[in-house]
């Protein structure tokens, strides 16, 4: 029973990260019908830059803030430099290749500069695990679902209640119409990628202390976040949150009852199966393809 509770909590925790990263994909896709394919690198930079800043003596919180801000700026810059020029025509795939290229550069440069060994990201919340029955869980892990809740509610508030958020939704709905009411759609797309970067880097900072910071930490998280977004139906934020959390929890149970190796294999097969059954995603609406 306690074991189950623990799987649930750790699953919830890792699922929250997938959900946050999935939301990042949702934000990018809504704005541009394109994404940063190597978005996981933004997640990674959130954690790695925090460690780097702390190395030079910056205290924890300012270091986190600085890292998140820097990663978000980079995410926006990637939109400007690598997505926009290759996303001029409908169904273009150029942006896919260019973001992969830039992601490869970021990841290998980080490996070269930061080292290939994972580093600890010390926070007060990973000093001592809480005891739940026989097993332990770090307070940091419990922070993640809370953060997801804050992020999801915050995103909802941003999109529904602020001028910029509404303008972004307008761009997502119809770029032409957005331009005709005076919204600079290109600028909103840039901001959206920045916003997505914010979400990604934040989740990196938050998961960093649990899994340690390394140049390669982002790849798998980014991939799972992308898969979660696709399975949910990439244009549905609530669906992304639900799918992310569910995926995290089921992962932990597979891991517990089978093995770590089986975890990804089964999780991934499940994704393919779901996509076979629900081509538009679990929560997605059938897309209307104009002829």
């Amino acid at each position: 029973m306690e074991a189950i509770l623990q799987y649930l909590l750790t699953g919830l925790s890792v699922g929250s990260v997938y959900a946050m990263v999935g939301l990042g994909f949702y934000v990018m896709w809504s704005a541009a019908k394109a994404v940063n394919f190597n978005f996981g690198d933004i997640v990674m930079l959130g954690a790695v830059l925090t460690v780097v800043l702390m190395d030079v003596g910056v205290p924890l919180l300012p270091a986190c803030l600085g890292a998140v801000a820097a990663a978000a700026l980079l995410a926006a810059a990637i939109e400007r430099g690598f997505v926009r020029p290759f996303n001029r025509e409908a169904n273009a795939i150029g942006w896919m290749l260019t973001t992969i290229a830039v992601g490869t550069m970021i990841e290998s440069a980080t490996t070269a500069l930061f080292g290939s060994n994972p580093r600890r990201l010390e926070t007060p919340l990973v000093e001592a695990p809480l005891r739940i029955g026989g097993s332990g869980i770090y307070p940091q892990e419990l922070l993640l679902p809370v953060a997801l809740l804050v992020v999801a509610v915050g995103l909802e508030f941003f999109y529904r209640r602020t001028i910029t958020g509404r303008a972004m939704r307008a761009v997502a709905y119809n770029r032409t119409a957005a331009g005709l009411v005076g919204i600079d759609a290109d600028r909103m797309t840039l901001l959206s990628f920045g916003l997505a970067g914010l979400l990604g880097a934040l989740s990196g900072v938050l998961i960093g202390p649990v899994i340690q910071a390394s140049a390669t930490m982002g790849a798998i998280i980014g991939l799972k976040g992308f898969l979660v977004a696709i399975i949910a139906g990439i244009a549905n934020a609530r669906g992304v949150v639900i799918a992310g959390v569910l995926y995290g929890v089921s992962e932990k149970f597979i891991e517990a009852y089978l093995s770590t190796a089986a975890r990804d294999a089964i999780g991934f097969s499940l994704m393919v199966l779901l996509l076979l059954l629900f081509p538009q995603g679990l929560f997605g609406k059938a897309e209307f393809k104009k002829v």
Binding site: A101, M105, S108, A219, V291
Partner: protein, 617 residues
Amino acid sequence: MIARTGGWIAAALLALAIGIFPYLGDLLDTRFPTSYELRLVMRAMILGIVVIGLNILVGFAGLVSLGQAALMGLGAHAAALLALRADWPFAACLAASVLVPALMGAVLAFPTVRVRALYLTVITIAFGFVFVNVLREWVSFTGGASGLASIPRPTLFGERLMATRAAGFNYYYLIAVCLMLALWVQWALARSRYGRAMRATAESENAARALGINVTATRTLAFAISAGLAGLGGGLFANLALFVNYETFTFSASIELLLMTILGGSGTLAGPVVGTAVLFAASQALQGLQEWQTFAYGALLALVLFLMPEGIVGGLARLRAKLAGRGAQERQTGAWPHFVPGFDALTQDRDEPGQATLITRDLTLRFGGLTAVNMVDMEVRSGTVHALIGPNGAGKSSLLNVVSGFYRASAGTVTLFGQAVKDQPPHVLARLGVARSFQNTELFGRMTVLENVLVGCHIRYQATLAETLLRLPRFLREERERLAEARLLLEVVGLTDFAGEQARNLPFGHQRRLEIARALALRPKLLLLDEPAAGLTHGEIEDLVALIRGLAARGMTVILVEHHVEMIMAVSDRVTVLDHGEVIADGPPEQVQDDRAVIEAYFGHGAPAAQATVPAQ
């Protein structure tokens, strides 16, 4: 023609160079290809095979895989495990190394390519990660990090295969033969309906579907072939190294393969060989960079995409075309329609005269809250030209899209050639004999004019994939016949001189002609034309009218959505007028033209007393 013979000469030279290489030292009297260099060339050839596979996926089908290294690894492990654990002979292992990844490719592609081509890429990345993970963790089966060692040396027909002088470099030559076979497969695909279908789906999914191509199946096939070639490379690799572990087949290896494809020039036949050779040579030089090597790959990929997206071979071809273009002679545009003698044979498939080719009953189409088509009853007789008109947003194109299977009706029935066909996808309807054109001409822009028409012939091939790849008689006969048909159709629309031109370079009026020729290649019984006159000049419209009348005279049924009232009056036997998705008038053109409701729908009520100012014709 020059390009063709040039290609064969290049292939022959490549074969010669590869063939001589092991004995180069004897000719030059040096100890040049040591076993080390020989090994490098063998590895490059293996990568070449994998990259050819990737080129079929990326360059033909327009899909991207970032799990190609993992598929290669799957082939390598299939071959190694079967040899080690099941004592399978080499030939069987090699066959398995092709078939297992091909099957895996199909399983990965089928669910993903239906929605968005993009999803396949994500799934392939995931597959790559899972593959490496499983290899690493499942130590008892795969050996984990220490991998599978001491794979038995391959033997074929009792010969031990090795790349040594004593063995006559037989393994080296086996790899070389496989490379040549892969090039053959690539060439044979490119010049067949399969390759044309792949390129067509990449260029315009809608047009491909309208011509009877099953897009999901075509993409799945492309990925299966691509994965099979990756696996072949893997199987050859395992038997060369006699050792495999996961480290060779990581994500960054997949990026390297992709870079080779793009660098060489995706979609070109020589691109994979050139890209592999250049990057493989460069990577030997870049090894000093150590951890920055991957960075250099990323930077190079970005650089290629920005500066020469068509790659080395594509860039050179463009340059040559530019140079050749200067001296090129004017092309003659033929008059059209030119109903050449053989044309009647191509239009003999028709619905029986006087039959109702199309019947819709209570046909309704809703998008969300909007009803685009509302309870439409329509009947179109065979061999007639039936126009569908109405003001903007009246639902004409929507109706056409339902009839051709692109939209699924919310309610009501559609009967075509006496068969209920509701909810059938476009490619199935195309096979029944429905062809269409598109409002915004959807040509396959990067394919030649002739190839565009040949794609229209797609459904009338019977030769299987095997027959096609082996160039067996049935394929050759069919290809010859279709080619003759396609040329004939080009003659009908006056584009004979443009056969070798890329479709996107045609002037607009010619593009319309080509689209119609392509639709006719389907040998349709029912032809749907969506605003064929839009953007055409008066003279061109008159030719179009003559063509449509000519088709109807040969028994073809034509449904026409058009704004151009003058043309409708000239060409149609019957007119159905839609407004707000409903039929407001139906009858012969003269009658509809003076229908009060029609004039109001177009003009607004309180329209000038039409009958008074303009006498009825």
